[in-house]
């Protein structure tokens, strides 16, 4: 029998790797990949709780909405990144600081 904790551990490891991706990469598309990893690990948590604790399937329904939000977030983020690339020819997030001052 696979326990709830094993799913939570996988989810926590992938969440931490997503945070690490966001902090480690300079490329904006790489940061977007880290965000996707984090959203996936959250989804796994919801599904694990939906199977092991909830008597109904509320977790799966929340997970569907998270998937929709992740898709829309990726679309808008990539549109912004393409615009940035067209404007600056560079998507290094440490170089994009026009709005800093």
């Amino acid at each position: 029998m696979i326990s709830l904790q094993s799913y939570l551990i996988i989810s926590a490891v992938v969440f931490i790797l997503g945070i690490l991706t966001i902090l480690y990469k300079k490329n904006a598309v790489g940061i977007l990949m880290g965000v996707e990893l984090i959203l996936n690990s959250v989804n796994l948590n919801f599904l694990a709780f939906s199977k092991y604790i909830d008597a109904h399937i509320n977790g799966q329904l929340v997970a569907i909405f998270i998937i929709i939000l992740a898709a829309s977030e990726a679309a808008v983020a990539l549109a912004i990144i393409l615009n940035l690339y067209r404007d600056r020819a560079n998507i290094d997030v440490t170089q994009v600081d026009q709005m800093k001052n």
């Binding site: 996988i10 991706t21 990539l78």
Partner: protein
């Protein structure tokens, strides 16, 4: 039962290893393909969690949609990073420190928390239940999300189109 657990272990290792490859790969295109392996591994884990509809949705939306978008993004913007390959990463120490702190917190939460007693559910196909729930109890978030998707559709097209420069 033994084979099921072995398969679970294999899928977990593949998922975590490819997620690590996403984080630490030097080339962004390698990260993108490792991300595909991670998404497929997550879909397999959803099958283990008896979420059949979610597993198929994961494949269709993530692998078929989001990953293709990310690959487009990588391939359309990769030219800069071919020449200056040295400076593509932030310093690792800060990331490792925060990741270790987060790992301690999450580990304590997972092992110390008194989880509620597990419900023993038999597997039932979830598609019809999800459809009924979306149109009854989850109707308001469903409508909100459809309005959001319309906004995102228009917004992404507006942001990504090429401007006609008028004199």
């Amino acid at each position: 039962m033994e084979a099921k657990e072995l398969l679970f272990l294999f899928i977990a290792i593949v998922t975590i290893a490819s997620a690590g490859l996403v984080a630490f790969s030097n080339k962004l295109i390698h990260s993108a393909f490792a991300l595909m392996a991670t998404f497929v591994g997550f879909a397999a884990l959803y099958v283990f969690l008896s979420a059949d509809f979610l597993a198929v949705t994961q494949i269709v939306v993530y692998v078929g949609g989001i990953l293709i978008l990310i690959l487009f993004g990588v391939m359309m913007t990769h030219r800069i990073y071919d020449t200056t390959l040295k400076t593509i990463h932030n310093p690792l120490a800060m990331g490792i420190i925060s990741a270790a702190a987060l790992a301690v917190i999450l580990g304590l939460v997972i092992y110390r928390s008194p989880w509620a007693a597990t419900v023993d559910k038999p597997f039932v196909p979830t598609t019809s239940i999800i459809g009924a729930e979306i149109l009854t109890n989850y109707l308001l978030p469903f409508e909100l999300v459809s309005v959001l998707l319309l906004g995102v559709l228009i917004g992404a097209v507006f942001l990504a189109r090429t401007e006609e420069h008028k004199k």
